[in-house]
Symmetry: C2
Amino acid sequence: MTAPQYTTFPHKYLKEFTAKVFQHFKVDEEDAWQAADVLSKADVRGIDSHGVARLKTYVDMFLIGRINPKAEIKIVRQKKSVATVDGDSGLGLIVGPKANKIAMDLASEYGSGWVSVCNTNHYGIASYYSLQALERDMIGWSMTNSSRIVVPLWGAERRLGTNPISIAFPGYRNPPIVIDLATSVVAFGKIEQAKRQGKSVPEGWMIDSQGKTSTNPEDVYEGGLLPLGSNREMGGHKGYALSAMVDILSCVLSGANWGPFAPPFALFEEAPKKSVGKGIGHFFGAMEIDGFEDVDVFKKRIDDWIEVFRKTKPAPGHDAVLIPGDPEHECEKVRTVNGIPVIQAVVDDLVGISKKTGIPFFVADPHQPGIVK
Amino acid sequence: MTAPQYTTFPHKYLKEFTAKVFQHFKVDEEDAWQAADVLSKADVRGIDSHGVARLKTYVDMFLIGRINPKAEIKIVRQKKSVATVDGDSGLGLIVGPKANKIAMDLASEYGSGWVSVCNTNHYGIASYYSLQALERDMIGWSMTNSSRIVVPLWGAERRLGTNPISIAFPGYRNPPIVIDLATSVVAFGKIEQAKRQGKSVPEGWMIDSQGKTSTNPEDVYEGGLLPLGSNREMGGHKGYALSAMVDILSCVLSGANWGPFAPPFALFEEAPKKSVGKGIGHFFGAMEIDGFEDVDVFKKRIDDWIEVFRKTKPAPGHDAVLIPGDPEHECEKVRTVNGIPVIQAVVDDLVGISKKTGIPFFVADPHQPGIVK
C-alpha cells in the first residue's frame, strides 16, 4: 500500500470552516466558535483523531436531531464547591467548556470546584479543559466516559469507554505538564491503523468475540480493547479500575448513561438496548493553586521537577525521558506556523460537508488555503 | 524450598500490641490506637505488606528520632475548600487520618475538601482514607508519594515511588467499590517474592542497572520498577504520567520532597543526597455525595453498576469479572473471624520489638492468641 496523502491547511482556516458549519446547524455564533476552538486545539496539538476528523460525526448527529443547538446548560444541584450540571443534549464541545467554566467559577469562590455533567456527548480532547484551568492559575481535572469498546479485566464483553483522565500543572519558564491518557491500553484508532496497513497488533491490546486475546485487528469489531495493563500479571485490573472511576464520577454521580449504556457517538455504532440516564457524562475539577501555595513558588517548583526529570539517564535506545505533554507542545509550535496536515479521507469528509451545507471549502487551489503536499 | 510458616493471630491482638508499641515511643494513647487501626486495616484486608509487617520499620524510625511522637499537625495555608497541611514530622499513620479529617471537615462546610500534606512519612494503605470518607457519605480520594523505586518511561534511573491512588464509592446493598492501585506495574514485594522462590519475573516488570528490561529479580536492586504499562507500546507513558500526577499533588503542591528526593522509609534504603522540601507528601480529597445527588439514589445506582459489571460474560479461563475491592472485602470477612496469618519473619520482628520495648507478645502458647498453623 502507498503512504496516505495529506493536504495541509492553516489551522485558522479549518477552525473558521468548523465554526461556520456549527452555525449552519443553528448554533449561536459564540458557541460555534467555542466548539471550533476545541476541535482546532486537538488538531494543532497533533491529536488528529479528535480534531476536524470528527466534524462529520457531529454533523451526522445534528442531521438526525441528536444534538440540541440551543441547549441551555443548567446547574441542577449544588452544594457550594460541588455541583451537577445538565447539558440539555447540547454539543459536548459547548457543554464541556460551559461546565468547566462553572467548575472554575466555583473554584474562584470556594477554592475548588467540581462538576459532574449529564445529558451531553463527546467533548473533544480531555486536555482542552485542564489547559483552560491553567489560564486562571488553577489545576484543572477533566474526565469523560464514551461509548463501550473496552472490556473489564477477565471479561469477554465491552462494558466501558476509553474513558480518559486529564490533569495539567503550569510551569514558570517551562511549558505546562499536561497529562491526558485514555484508560484503555491503546486508542481504537491504533488498531484501525494496523488494519489499514495489513499488520497484526501486539498481544495485549485487544480480545476477539470469545474474549481471547488476539493480534488480528479484524477481531476487534466483535471483540474489544483491553484496559491499560492488559492482563492481571501486568496490571490490567488497574486500567479497569481507573476506567471505572471515570465512569462513576462522570455518569453515576450525574445521572448520565454509565458503562455499557453510553449512547454511541458515530451512527454506525450499535446503540445499547437500554438507557439508564441522560446522554453521556463528564467530570471537571479546578483547584486554586493560591489556596495551597504562592502561585509563582508552585510554578518554579514545577520547573525544577521538569528539569530534574529531563535529566534522567535515558534507557538504551532512547534519547531522553519526556515530560507529559511534550509531544503535543512540540506539535503545537510547528502546526501553528506550518498548518495542519489532513488525511485524504478527512478532506473528502470536509468537502462533503461543504456540499451539504453550502459553506465553501477549497482544496488544491494555489490561491486558497488547501495545498496538496 | 518449603512453604513459608504462618502463625495466626486475632486481629485485635495485633492491633493492641501495635497501639502499645506506639505508646511506648511516647505517642498519645488516642493517636497510637489510630495508627494501629491503619495497620490493622491493611492486615484484615489482606494487604500484608502494609500491616504489622511494617511495624519494625516504624519502630526503627522512632529509635533514630526520625518521627516526632508529639507532632502538631497544622493547616499552614487555606482558601476555603483547599489547604496545605504540615505534618510536623509525625507518624504518617497519625498525620494521614488527621489530614484526611481536615479534608472531610472542609467538605462538610464547602461541599468538597482538598488537602496537600508535607512533612510526613508512610501513611499505610491508601484505601484506609477513602474508606473513612464513606462513613460520612463522601467520595474520598487518597494519594501519597514514596521513596524512589520506579523509573519514568525511557529512563534508566529511579525517579518516582510506587505512588498509589485510591478512591471509593459506597453501595446501598453491596459493599463499596474500593479502588487502590500503585502506579507501578507491580509492587516491589512481588519481585522480592520471586527472588525468594528462585523464579524469574515476567518481562516488563523491571529494569536492570543499565536501564534494560530484565527478568532476573536480583537486578532490581541496582535497577528499578517500570511504571504501569511497562513500555511505550503497552502504555508505559500512562503509568509514568499517573505517578507524576500523584507526586505533584502530594509533594510539589505541599512543599514535600518530590520525585527522587523522597526520604527513604526503611533504614537500609539509601537516602537522597539532596532535600527539596519537608518529608514526603500525601494528597486527600473528599466530596459530599449530597452536593451532586441524593445519597441513597447514588448508592442504588452504584448497586446497579456493580450488578451489571458482575454479570459481564467472563473471558475463557475466568469465572467472573470482579469489582474493584472484591478480594479485600472477601479477605476482611474471613480474617475478622479467623485471624491474621503472619509469616515467620514478621513474627520474629514482633518478638524482637517485644524484647526491645518490654511489651508482651505471645506466640505458640495454646492459652494465648498466637497459634502455630
